[in-house]
């Protein structure tokens, strides 16, 4: 994103203001906002005032700025994320009732995994995934299983974009091998990658066009994966979500124990 406001359209500036807020910095004074959005203070001041009057921003009790509830409402009420979530939610609750650990739903966005929903039990293991938060694709079981079920050319384009990423980014051949295995197994299991004490396990959710549109996953204590129970439970729930999205059962994905799966 350009650091100079000159030449930016007003829409771009508004996006930069909204993008300045995240889970780590949900509220800030206007000077911080100007810096994070790369805008002159006077511009940030004027724009913030206008966005407050439109309720896209709001002021906290201490006078800082944060995103307005109205923005969340407008963005959420017809969101594709919430459509997917609504279909998935009862099945996620089933998984959570059975596995009693974090259950999460995610999609691919720009080489990262974007978490749409997460259910947690009190007493679950730690989990770095947040609702509306992201993780790099290659460290997330959800991201890996989604890429494993993507067309070969999408995988190769991903590898091209990251070919000069230094370690710990994995070598291309290692990723290709992992994807092939995940595709055969119909699931991804990543022990101790994000956190040494936990394992991520994820399966794909297939949409009506037969492509993997989302991942359903759990985060469980490492060494207690119990994959022979967890994976079939996840696959069962994922098929339920696929059906809810209008996908024919026969197209809804692999069976436990591997097998042919879709060809490349």
């Amino acid at each position: 994103m350009a650091n100079s406001p000159s030449g930016d359209s007003m829409a771009e500036r508004i996006v930069r203001v909204i993008s300045a807020f995240d889970a780590e910095r949900p509220a800030m004074p206007v000077a911080t906002l100007a810096r994070r959005a790369g805008l002159p203070l006077s511009t940030a001041h004027r724009l913030a005032g206008e966005l407050v009057s439109l309720a896209l921003l709001q002021r906290t009790d201490s006078g800082e700025l944060r995103l307005g509830l109205r923005l969340w409402e407008l963005a959420s009420r017809s969101s594709a994320a919430l459509d997917l979530r609504q279909v998935a939610m009862p099945f996620m609750e089933d998984i959570q009732a059975v596995i009693r650990q974090h259950t999460q739903l995610s999609v691919l966005q720009e080489d990262e995994v974007l978490f749409i929903e997460r259910l947690s039990s009190r007493g679950s293991v730690s989990n770095f995934a947040k609702v509306a938060g992201r993780l790099p694709l290659h460290i997330s079981s959800s991201g890996m299983v989604l890429m494993a079920h993507s067309p070969r050319h999408v995988q190769e384009e991903f590898l091209d974009r990251h070919q000069s990423d230094p370690p710990p980014f994995p070598a291309a051949d290692s990723l290709r091998r992992q994807w092939a295995e995940m595709r055969r197994e119909g699931c991804a299991t990543l022990p101790g990658v994000v956190d040494p004490d936990t394992t991520g396990i994820a399966v794909p959710v297939f949409g009506p066009q037969g492509s993997a549109v989302a991942a359903l996953g759990v985060v469980v204590p490492r060494g207690k994966e119990n994959t022979s129970a967890t994976v079939p439970a996840l696959m069962t729930a994922a098929r339920g979500i696929s059906r809810g999205l209008g996908t024919d059962s026969a197209e809804a994905g692999p069976r436990y124990g591997g097998g042919a799966g879709a060809g490349d």
Copy 2:
């Protein structure tokens, strides 16, 4: 909102474009968007193109426009709605496990109830509340219990704004009586108001400043309210949410069976 675009700022136009999408019309061609946003077709066309390039809008497979996942992500990742939701979620799951019907969390917004979260069981009764959807305050147990626990001047300002609303909007004296009783009881029970077959039951959630910041409610089959079990369960969960928000237990609200409660 003015119907003519002349004199509108760009920020206002963007809000009008985003506001044109809702749960009933999540996707539309640009001509419909122009009409719903009150913009000339050429303006809508240009603005939609720019918002697509910024990923605030996206095109569907059939070429219609809808809100982009990126907008949901930006609006959600630091949202006050999701902060509240995250604290409330484990307690909402407890309620749902016990009551097995719709469980919902809401806040007041401009004389309406805005639903932040809703958990449903398959087989629950029908429910008109949607996540990021609204209901008029006076027909919702959540809205009524929130207004019942608002300061007297907020109640009177609400009544002033609605004094010429025709029936079925209730008479001011009837609302004042209901609010007084709900405040005494610490809960609102509205049988058959939104739907003849269901009853809404809601209790307030108190924030650190001692004011009611949200409502926790359930929608249950009418005639099977079992309030002597439902209300204490809701109050217990609401106190847990209050504590999670940093509220001292002693300030966390009324006890079952009524009692003094806070004075006006």
